[in-house]
Amino acid sequence: MPELGRAALILSLGLALYALVAGGYAARARRRRLARSAQNALLAAFASTALASLVLVSALLRHDFGFVAVAQTTSSDLPTAYTLSAFWGGQEGSLLLWLLVLTGYSAAAVALGRRVGPDVLAWVVPVLAAVCVFFAFMLVAVSSPFATQPAPADGAGMTPSLQNPYMLAHPPLLYLGYVGLTIPFAFAMGALLARRSDERWIVATRRWTLTAWAFLGVGQLLGAHWAYEEVGWGGFYAWDPVENAALMPWLAATAFLHSVMIQEKRGMLKVWNMLLVIGAFCLSLFGTFLTRSGVVNSIHSFTQSPLGPWFLGFIALVTACSLALVFTRLPLLRSQTRLESLVSREATFLYNNLLLVALCLTILWGVIFPLLSEAVRGEAVSVGRPYYDFFLRSFGLPLLLLMGIGPLIAWRRASLRALGKTFLVPLGISLVVGAILLALGAGSSVPGLIAYTFSAFVLASIGLEFVRGTRARRALGASSWPGAFASLVARNRRRYGGYVVHAAVVLLAVGIAGSSAYETVREQPLRPGETLEAAGYTLALRRVEERDGANATELRAVLGVRRGDDDLGALEAGKNRYDIEAQPVSNEVGIRSDLLTGEDLFVIADRFNADGSVYLKVLVKPLVNLIWLAGLVFVLGSLVTLWPDAREQRRLLARYELHPAEA
């Protein structure tokens, strides 16, 4: 029943519009009941958007091809899990998911955001509502998921590359990240509109920001794994504009998560933090624009659509309004203290921020330069991997080093003698590791060797922090070493959870360096019985098979794999042929992972020739599995950091004199 979906969306738009207008008036005229009513409107908007989403889910499950969105993205033989994932597989459905997540986040933030104070919350509501109005309007007037047509016998089917388990989780997680950045933005703007200079908005949004950032990080990693398995070119990140679109807000949010600690601890960088929050939110909108407008040619983007100009206008409006607000409130955002020394922990945070923002801006330039060139000069240019790799190395390696330096330096200032003492062990360990790696031949890639040496330094400094901290807690009376360790982490969740996240970034860096700087690539045609050698592996083509899959014809090269005298069994790589127009053939790569060494043997059957031979591309990627392990460690660190601390809650309750139920 598309009418119900349409009506629910119109209702969502009406409720969001009411929350915007009534909420704005209530905040300005200080009307309590009207402010409360506007909050209720946001909560109700979530309910009506949830109903609209249910209508679309129901249409997908019933294979109701009378819905254009269902007919374009599914077919009757599509497995149920992928049929459900078609909710975000098409332009309109994914826009509906945006609104669903946005109204859900808004409702939760309003319900749980009492600690920010009624005056700030009154302003947060119209800011959130303004974003909801935009997306609801898009769904009602520009790109409706409830457009209907005379039902065809079957749907067009789903693009084969989307029929992958990672696609069940990657887009929703990415959306939870993208959309989640709206909450800190709204609270920051609410605080400015209410002329509040205190840090309630930071306290109220700390977990929201961390949650959104963690979702965005995990979402990207799952996307990278999807690309690795499904796209079939042998890599996991291609610096595609749409991939970059998710990386940029994550980098801005990472910078914010670090610099906001300086504001909390030293009362500094208030304007900078506002700019980062605005930047992260606007970049999340920009990412959505890139994916949906059709301005970039990417395997991740939707086709040409009328959404582009609307999104550009909205981004321009949000940027202009929020920057104007920051400018008018500059007197409220004066720093209370100054940086005492360039050799201090806050200084390393500042350097980290500058590098993160520089990396983010160079990526942004790489994304928009081709668009500007085409718009202004009519010339199609592309910014490729060498540009991004250069800046990743230029800014990424110093960032990696800073992750190791930061924990070793005290807040405020540190003397050279103290630095010498604290740096001795990690520096020694990293130099020894570097020398060993050099002796083992890692010098074939200088950036790789530097990355490994820096990684050793960071891991040593993190390990040292845990050891010293545990020892100190033990000396303070903890009964056992495990007890001292648990107490250390429990009492300083942000600090030690942050170190675990840093360890995840090190694993990521080691995995990226290993798999890109030291990979082996071999390619040649093989006839049945012939062999190919790559980095100690011997692959023999046993036979070529053709068989029927669930909804495709599967063509496979069956290979026998040996390493030295060890028979490692069979590995299959090939192609799937689908009976749909969108992408009739997909690459199905063969991957053999060695979890002990972290290495992957990656086989692409590039071409099946008429003479019975298969053109194979074989890649041996050392340590690539550390990238996926980094994801698990990242989640663990994020959970430690996010876990509520009862003592901190009590302290905040006392500071802001809130009722316990509101904290």
């Binding site: 009418e3 119900l4 905040a27 009506s48 509040r196 009362g267």
Partner: protein
């Protein structure tokens, strides 16, 4: 099907309107409809408490970093004094208010 959809939509709309109007239905004639706003005194108190907590937190972290060896004795001695002074000043500035709060609590029946 269309009629059922319209009925469901109307029910949903009515429920939403009722929920949005709830604050006015619950309190048709309130004593005050003014949204709470912190006064200058309250803003000053929060600022002082933030300053106090910042100084106390920094002191705690300094002590811990000194104990773990991240901070040398000289640096510790140079930093601990100003931080203690900062915390003491914030606590002192909050004292009159604290005293009046205690008095208010004591005067309660």
């Amino acid at each position: 099907m269309t009629l059922l959809a319209l009925v469901l939509a109307a029910v949903l709309a009515a429920a939403c309107v009722g929920y949005v109007a709830l604050p006015f239905l619950r309190e048709p004639d309130p004593e005050s409809d003014r949204l709470d706003e912190p006064g200058e005194l309250d803003r000053r108190r929060v600022a002082l408490e933030e300053e106090r907590d910042r100084a106390l937190g920094a002191l705690k972290e300094l002590e811990f970093d000194h104990r773990t060896g991240t901070i040398a004795d000289d640096d510790y001695r140079a930093l601990v004094g100003p931080l203690r002074r900062q915390a003491a000043e914030a606590i002192r500035a909050l004292e009159p208010r604290a005293a009046s709060s205690v008095a208010r609590v004591r005067s309660c029946p």
